[in-house]
């Protein structure tokens, strides 16, 4: 009984911490819509964005060209001195968050009373984080982006900060980006149309099996160097990156290894339907399983026992008139040491340990009635095909392994209405509902966890 309570305490603490981290991560606004470009070139936002921040192919090409239209008016010297390439974005909102199984003290205020699970609902008026985004050109064929981003309490971090040397040797196929940046993929988590705590990220891009040590997420911006190339209309695109194995965290907090990422896509026109795109990507990395310590405190940058993992998949972006679908399949695998939370080199793997493996996918549909009204819906599923330990085993946090442990199903629906659309600023009424079901991960009883978000807010930038 005492042992069960202790495990419950550990699960509760871990889940509470995870929830707090999740809230900070999710409510930090991720934004990629920049009226500064519209001010610079005189184009409306709708020229580059299907419905901002989602890019259309013209916008993808503009971005691939290093934020240049290549009309000899790109360099800053051609701009009015008063022009500054900076934009702000924030979303004041009302929202409601529900979680059906949160670990709470049996007696409020008494940590020693043990933990139980309760459904908790919170709601009210709130703020998102703020994006303070600047991007553009330093010179012909030298582009940049700096994005300090805050949570709702104005605690800032660098979402991205990079410099890019474009069209090296006058070739579109050679562009080098250096710094913290989003991994190159046309299905971007930074430019999608959902914002809630439950729906404001792709489950697949951040999925980790229960008690997995890996700190990596495909949806997190990474630190490194990217070689990228594209055809003149960006129908053909590729990118190859070498990244530090620190999940984009500055200050060298992790280890000394490097990860590799690659992406390739090809677009083609289907008459009467529009431009379609298919692609494939793969990420191979290493993550530490323990750190050197001093006085029991982990020393940043001393990651040891590095073990491999990968993420790989294929995707498609399909247009049928005003409707478009983004489809993605991903397979992920972490080494058994990562999956079981075992310090490689210090301890042996538990009996029956194996590399946790999962498959997942999503379909996200948009109905763009006009650049000023878009409907969005997404269904997403992640399924474990191999758990880190045999069914019936106990993970390090006390969770009992089942076949479906960690399986996640999410769906999101919403709309954005843009009452104004100009090249100076934008505002969208954003309405969204999202629901996520995760199997067997409740902090005390190992039951299924359901969380949902309802949101109504005004997403504006200028």
């Amino acid at each position: 009984m005492a042992g069960g309570l202790m495990k419950g305490h550990l699960r509760g603490a871990a889940c509470t911490l995870g929830l707090l981290v999740g809230i900070v991560a999710i409510t930090s606004q991720t934004a990629q819509a920049i009226p500064a470009f519209a001010r610079k070139y005189g184009l409306p936002c709708s020229a580059c964005h299907e419905a901002w921040p989602k890019l259309n192919n013209f916008g993808i090409t503009f971005r691939d060209n290093g934020y240049q239209l290549e009309n000899e008016r790109d360099a800053p010297i051609y701009q009015h001195p008063a022009y500054f390439p900076i934009s702000f974005r924030i979303t004041p909102q009302w929202h409601r968050e529900t979680n059906n199984r949160v670990a709470v003290d049996i007696v409020p205020g008494q940590a020693s009373s043990g933990l139980t699970e309760r459904a908790i609902t919170t709601s009210g008026f709130d703020l998102s984080g703020l994006d303070l985004w600047t991007a553009g050109t330093l010179y012909n064929n030298i582009s940049f982006q700096v994005l300090p981003s805050s949570d709702e309490n104005a605690s800032f971090h660098f979402e991205s900060a990079w410099i890019r040397f474009d069209n090296i040797a006058h070739s579109r196929w050679v562009n080098v980006k250096f710094g913290k940046h989003e991994l190159d993929t046309p299905i971007s988590e930074k430019r999608f149309l959902t914002l809630t705590q439950s729906g404001g990220f792709y489950q697949l891009y951040h999925y980790l099996p229960a008690s997995d040590l890996n700190g990596f997420a495909l949806g997190d911006n990474q630190l490194g160097v990217e070689l990228m190339g594209h055809s003149q209309n960006s129908y053909t695109r590729y990118a190859v990156s070498v990244l530090s194995s620190n999940d984009g965290q500055p200050g060298l907090p992790s280890n000394q290894t490097y990860d590799v990422y690659g992406d390739f896509s090809q677009a083609f026109v289907v008459p009467k339907f529009g431009v379609q795109r298919v692609g494939a990507y793969g990420y191979s990395g290493r993550s530490p399983t323990y750190f050197l310590t001093s006085g029991g405190v982990p020393i940043p940058g001393t990651g040891q026992g590095n073990k491999p993992f990968y993420r790989t998949g294929v995707y498609g972006i399909w247009y049928v008139g005003k409707v478009d679908f983004s489809t993605l399949y991903m397979r992920g695998q972490d080494n058994a040491y990562l999956g079981t939370g075992t310090a490689a080199g210090l301890a042996g793997l538990p009996d029956g340990a194996q590399s946790p493996t999962w498959n997942g996918g999503f379909v996200e549909a948009h109905y763009t009635w006009s650049p000023q009204l878009v409907f969005v819906g997404r269904y997403e599923a992640v399924r474990m095909s191999r758990q880190a330990l045999p069914v019936g085993s106990q993970l390090s946090d006390g969770t009992t392994v089942t076949d479906s442990l960690g399986n996640t199903t999410a769906w999101v629906g919403g709309l954005r209405w843009y009452p104004i659309m100009s090249s100076r600023a934008g505002v969208a009424l954003h309405l969204e509902y999202a629901h996520v079901l995760t199997k067997g991960t409740s902090p005390v009883t190992g039951s299924d966890v359901r969380s949902s978000s309802v949101m109504g807010g005004f997403d504006f930038d200028f």
Partner: protein
């Protein structure tokens, strides 16, 4: 059965530019059987074009006042980049090429990333702004003879043409766009306009090739002080002039 066209746009641009002088009477259809639909073009215009060219297509979009040169006035239907004689309407292929290529040193970007059908639909909608497209036919497209060999003699003859036609009055003795008349020039809307500076690179308003430069001399840039020299110089002289002007370009991209 669906046909899939991979990067056909690049091939089509080359094809259309090559065929433009030969497309007699092809003023409602584009090469390859592409037909534009103004009804489909209208929402595209609102999405991509209205910010500069305006709701009424007269170049008075909300950002038009901040651009130099100003956006094209489709109502006046006077276009710089044509393969047809000065004062006449361009071919559909001329306008399609402009939409695809963009206009150098202006706010008009290349719309190549849009699929070809979308550009054709935009073209059809733009033509609806001016009654001229309903009342007039495009001019007879210019026939461009094959380019002769580039040699010192041709360059020398071209320099003589540059002097004889007094190009230097606007473009300057070294082609820097600083001729003695340069500061007095205005366009058809009485707005100041500067002559092209040949020393700044190898891209012109209406293309990058020698044929494009040849075409500019012989058709002029309507709406600007750049006239057509078709009645003043022979085709061979025009080629010589092209060869001479290329020697003025000191920053040519490979």
């Amino acid at each position: 059965m669906l046909r899939m066209k991979v990067e056909l746009s690049t091939v089509l641009i080359t094809g259309w530019l090559a065929l433009a002088p030969l497309s007699f009477g092809a003023d409602t259809d584009l090469a390859g059987g592409l037909k534009g639909d103004a009804n489909r073009g209208k929402p595209l215009y609102k999405r991509y074009c209205v910010g500069c060219h305006g709701v009424y297509g007269d170049g008075t979009g909300e950002n038009g006042v901040y651009l130099d040169p100003r956006p094209r006035d489709f109502v006046a239907a006077s276009f710089k980049c044509r393969s047809t004689p000065t004062g006449t309407l361009p071919l559909d292929s001329d306008l399609f090429a402009t939409i695809t290529r963009g206009v150098y040193a202006s706010g008009m970007p290349s719309w190549l990333p849009l699929e070809a059908q979308a550009r054709a639909d935009l073209l059809a909608y733009i033509k609806d702004f001016s009654p001229r497209f309903k009342e007039e036919k495009p001019g007879e497209p210019l026939q461009i003879p094959p380019e002769p060999e580039v040699n010192q003699e041709s360059v020398g003859r071209g320099e003589a043409v540059y002097q004889k036609m007094e190009c230097w009055k606007c473009h300057g003795k070294e082609g820097r766009g600083n001729g003695r008349s340069a500061s007095t020039l205005t366009d058809s809307k009485d707005r100041p306009i500067v002559p092209y500076d040949f020393t700044t690179g190898d891209r012109f308003k209406c293309g990058t090739s020698n044929e494009d430069l040849y075409r500019i001399f012989m058709t002029g840039l309507d709406g600007t002080p750049m006239p057509s020299f078709r009645d003043n110089i022979q085709p061979a002289e025009a080629w010589d002039l092209v060869h001479y002007l290329r020697t003025l370009q000191t920053r040519v991209k490979k």
